[in-house]
C-alpha cells in the first residue's frame, strides 16, 4: 500500500495546498482530485447529461409511442408533442397479453425460488464450512455458464418432446433454474463469506446446532444478499428468449414469445407494439432501478461490490 502523507505541512515540496486533513480525507470530492476550474467541471456535467439523455431516448421513445394512436406513431417528422391515449394499452390487454404475462410470472418466480433452494446450501458448503475441493466445484459451476446453450437445444427439445413438456411452463422452469444456478451460487457465496466467523463460533459456544446456526444466525445476516440474488435471477428469467421461443408456443409462451407475434404485423401497428414492449419491459426496469446497488454485484457473480 502506498504511504499516505501524514499531514499537509510535512509534505516536502508540496504545491500550495493539498486539501488533506486526515480527519476529513473521505469528505474530499473525487472530482477535485481530477478537476480543474469550476466551469470546466460544469461542461463535463452537461456533456454527461446530454449523453445520458441520448442513450435513454430509445426507451423514452418506446414509452411515448405506446401512448400514441397508430396514426400519430406514423408521422414524419416524428411527433414529440401529441395527445396521449391509453387506447393501445387497453388494446394490448384485450388482445391476449394476459396468458403470456402469467406464464412469465410463473416461470420467473418458480425458477427463482428453486434456484435459491438449491443455491443456498451449495453456497454454504463452498464458503462457511467448505468441502475439500471447493475451488474445483466453483470452477465447474462457472463453466456450466460458459457452455453455449444453443449446442444443447436439440437434446433438450427432444427430451421435452418425449416427456410431453413441450409448450409447458415446467420445461422453462427447469432450464431457467439451471441457467441461473451458477450465478446464484457464486453470488450467495460472496455474501456468506461476509458473515463474521466470530458470530458463528459464538453461536456454537452457545450450543446452537446446524439448523439454528443457519436459520437464526446466517440467514438474517445474508437476507439482503439473498434478495439481491433473487432479483438478478428474476431479471434473467424474465428476459430469456432462446429457450422460450424454441420450447413454447401458444400454451406456455412467455412475454418475449408474445412479442415475436408482432414481427408479422410490425409494419402496421407501431403504437400497439410499443405498448406491448413497454409492458414487457416495465417489471425488469423497475426491479433494476430498485436494485441498482446490487446489480453490479450480481452481474459480476459477486466479484465486484
Amino acid at each position: 500500500m502506498t504511504t499516505v502523507p501524514s499531514a499537509p505541512g510535512t509534505v516536502p515540496g508540496a504545491t500550495s495546498k493539498p486539501a488533506t486533513r486526515p480527519a476529513r480525507r473521505l469528505d474530499i470530492e473525487r472530482h477535485k482530485l481530477y478537476g480543474r476550474s469550476r466551469w470546466y467541471g460544469h461542461g463535463w456535467s452537461a456533456f454527461t447529461w446530454v449523453v445520458a439523455i441520448i442513450l435513454f431516448f430509445p426507451v423514452l421513445w418506446m414509452v411515448l409511442t405506446a401512448f400514441k394512436t397508430e396514426g400519430a406513431a406514423y408521422t414524419y417528422p416524428p411527433q414529440i408533442v401529441f395527445h396521449p391515449t391509453f387506447s393501445e394499452f387497453t388494446g394490448v390487454f384485450s388482445g391476449g397479453i394476459g396468458p403470456p404475462l402469467e406464464h412469465s410470472l410463473f416461470t420467473t418466480l418458480v425458477s427463482t425460488a428453486l434456484v435459491l433452494v438449491l443455491a443456498l446450501p451449495a453456497a454454504y458448503s463452498l464458503s462457511v464450512r467448505p468441502v475439500k475441493r471447493w475451488r474445483d466445484v466453483m470452477f465447474f459451476v462457472l463453466s456450466t455458464k460458459m457452455l453455449p446453450v444453443v449446442a444443447a437445444i436439440i437434446p433438450i427439445y427432444i427430451v421435452a418432446r418425449n416427456l410431453r413438456l413441450l409448450d409447458n411452463d415446467w420445461s422453462l422452469v427447469i432450464l431457467y433454474t439451471a441457467m441461473n444456478l451458477p450465478i446464484a451460487i457464486w453470488m450467495v457465496r460472496s455474501f456468506l463469506l461476509e458473515v463474521p466467523l466470530e458470530i458463528l463460533d459464538a453461536a456454537k459456544v452457545d450450543g446452537a446446532n446446524l439448523f439454528t446456526e443457519v436459520t437464526r444466525v446466517i440467514v438474517p445476516i445474508v437476507v439482503p444478499g439473498i434478495a439481491a440474488t433473487a432479483l438478478i435471477c428474476m431479471i434473467f428469467s424474465w428476459n430469456e428468449f432462446f429457450f422460450a421461443v424454441n420450447l413454447t408456443a401458444t400454451r406456455a409462451g412467455t412475454m418475449p414469445v408474445f412479442l415475436v407475434g408482432f414481427i408479422t404485423t410490425e409494419g402496421l401497428y407501431w403504437a400497439k407494439l410499443a405498448a406491448a414492449a413497454s409492458l414487457a419491459s416495465l417489471p425488469v426496469i423497475l426491479v433494476g432501478w430498485i436494485a441498482q446497488k446490487q446489480l453490479v454485484r450480481g452481474l459480476s457473480l459477486g466479484a465486484v461490490k
Binding site: T2, P5, T20, R25, L26, R30, H31, L33, Y34, W44, F47, W49, A52, L55, F56, P58, W61, Y76, P78, A119, P121, A122, S125, S127, V131, F140, V141, M146, L147, P148, V149, V150, A151, A152, P155, Y157, T177, I185, S190, L193, E194, N239, F242, P256, L259, I263, E266, W270, A277, A280, V284, G288, W289, Q292, L295, V296, S300, L301, A303, V304
Partner: protein
C-alpha cells in the same frame, strides 16, 4: 501481496488472513462421514447442474454421429463423421463462425469503450448524478427482444424511423439500415444494451480506488492525465477484464436481437452461430448437422473458456482474500 493490492479491500487485513487461515482448511482427516456431511448440502445443486447442463451436451455428441430428420420417422441412423464433413463443407457454417467472432468482438470492444467513458464521466460529483446513472442503466434492463423490435421499427425504419429524422440535416435519407448495414445495425443495438453493463463494472472499479492514492499522486505533482494513466488505469484493469469476459460470454450467445431484427439476413450477413444452429434444427429439422456444428461450437467455446476460467481464478482468489 502485490497481486492482491490491485483488488479493492473493504475489510481490514486481519479478517483476510483469518479467512485464508481458517476457511480454507480442509475437513479434518480420517472422518469420511464428516466429509460427506459437509458435501451433503452441495449435492442437490451439483446433481441438478450435471443432469440439466452436462447430459444434453453428451447427447448432442451422440446425435452428431447420426443422421436424423425430425420430420421423417425412421430416418434416425448412424452415419459416423458425415455430419461433421457436411458442417465444415457448409459455407453458411463458416460464415456464421466469422460473423460470430466479428459481432462479438466489435460489440464487446465498443461497449467497453463507451461504458468505460461513461463510468469516468459518472465518477464525479455533479447535479443529478443518481438520475443520470439510472437513465444510463435502463437500456440494459429493457427486454432484449423488446429493444430489438423497437430499434427495428421506430429507429431503423427507412421512412418513419428516428435515425432517418436525426440524420436528415446531413442529407442522409431513406437508408435501409438493416438491409445496407446489417452488421453495424446489430452491433449498434448490442452496444446500446451492453455499454451500461460495462459502465457499472468499471464504475465499481473506479469507486473502489483508494482516495489516498489519488491524493498522493496529486501531491507528488502528477497531472490529471498522468494520474489517470499511471494510477487509475492499472487499478481498473482487472475490472475491465472482468467486463470483457462476462460481456463476451453473454454476447457470443446473442440470439433474440438477430432473430427479431434480421433473421440472420440479408442472405447470411448476420447469421451467427446461435442463429445458424437454431436454423438447422428448427427450420431444416436436420438434427445431425445441427448437433455436429453444436459440438464444434462447444469445442471452440471450451478453448476460449479455458482462458476465461484462468481469469475467473484470479477473481476467486480476490473474493477469498477480501472476505
Amino acid at each position: 501481496m502485490s497481486d492482491v493490492s490491485t483488488v479493492p479491500r473493504h475489510l481490514p487485513a486481519e479478517s483476510a488472513g483469518r479467512a485464508l487461515g481458517r476457511r480454507r482448511r480442509p475437513a479434518a482427516p480420517g472422518s469420511a462421514r464428516r466429509a460427506w456431511v459437509r458435501r451433503l448440502p452441495l449435492l442437490p445443486a451439483l446433481i441438478y447442474m450435471i443432469v440439466v447442463t452436462q447430459v444434453p451436451f453428451l447427447v448432442t455428441i451422440w446425435y452428431s454421429f447420426r443422421s436424423w430428420n425430425l420430420l421423417i420417422p425412421g430416418s434416425n441412423h448412424f452415419t459416423g463423421l458425415k455430419s461433421y464433413r457436411e458442417a465444415f463443407a457448409d459455407p453458411t457454417f463458416l460464415t456464421a463462425v466469422v460473423n460470430t467472432v466479428e459481432l462479438t468482438a466489435s460489440a464487446v470492444i465498443i461497449a467497453m469503450l463507451v461504458g468505460g467513458g461513461l463510468a469516468v464521466l459518472l465518477n464525479r460529483k455533479f447535479f443529478g448524478r443518481g438520475i443520470v446513472r439510472t437513465l444510463l442503466i435502463t437500456p440494459f434492463l429493457v427486454m432484449p427482444v423488446a429493444g430489438a423490435l423497437l430499434w427495428k421499427t421506430t429507429i431503423y425504419d427507412p421512412i418513419y424511423g428516428l435515425l432517418d429524422y436525426v440524420l436528415s440535416p446531413l442529407g442522409i435519407h431513406h437508408v435501409n439500415w438493416l438491409g445496407t448495414f446489417p452488421k453495424q445495425s446489430i452491433v449498434a443495438l448490442l452496444v446500446w444494451e451492453w455499454a451500461p453493463f460495462m459502465m457499472l463494472i468499471v464504475l465499481a472499479g473506479l469507486q473502489s480506488e483508494p482516495l489516498e492514492v489519488l491524493e498522493a499522486a496529486k501531491v507528488d505533482g502528477a497531472s490529471t492525465v498522468q494520474t489517470f494513466t499511471r494510477v487509475t488505469v492499472p487499478h481498473i484493469q482487472r475490472y475491465v477484464q472482468l467486463g470483457v469476459l462476462l460481456g463476451s460470454i453473454y454476447i457470443v450467445q446473442a440470439f433474440g436481437e438477430i432473430y427479431m431484427m434480421t433473421q440472420g439476413g440479408p442472405g447470411t450477413a448476420t447469421t451467427n452461430l446461435p442463429f445458424y444452429l437454431y436454423d438447422q434444427a428448427f427450420n431444416a429439422y436436420n438434427v445431425g448437422i445441427a448437433a455436429a456444428s453444436g459440438v464444434i461450437v462447444l469445442i471452440g467455446t471450451e478453448i476460449v473458456a479455458m482462458f476465461a476460467l484462468r481469469l475467473a481464478g484470479s477473481l476467486l482468489d480476490a473474493t477469498q482474500a477480501r472476505a
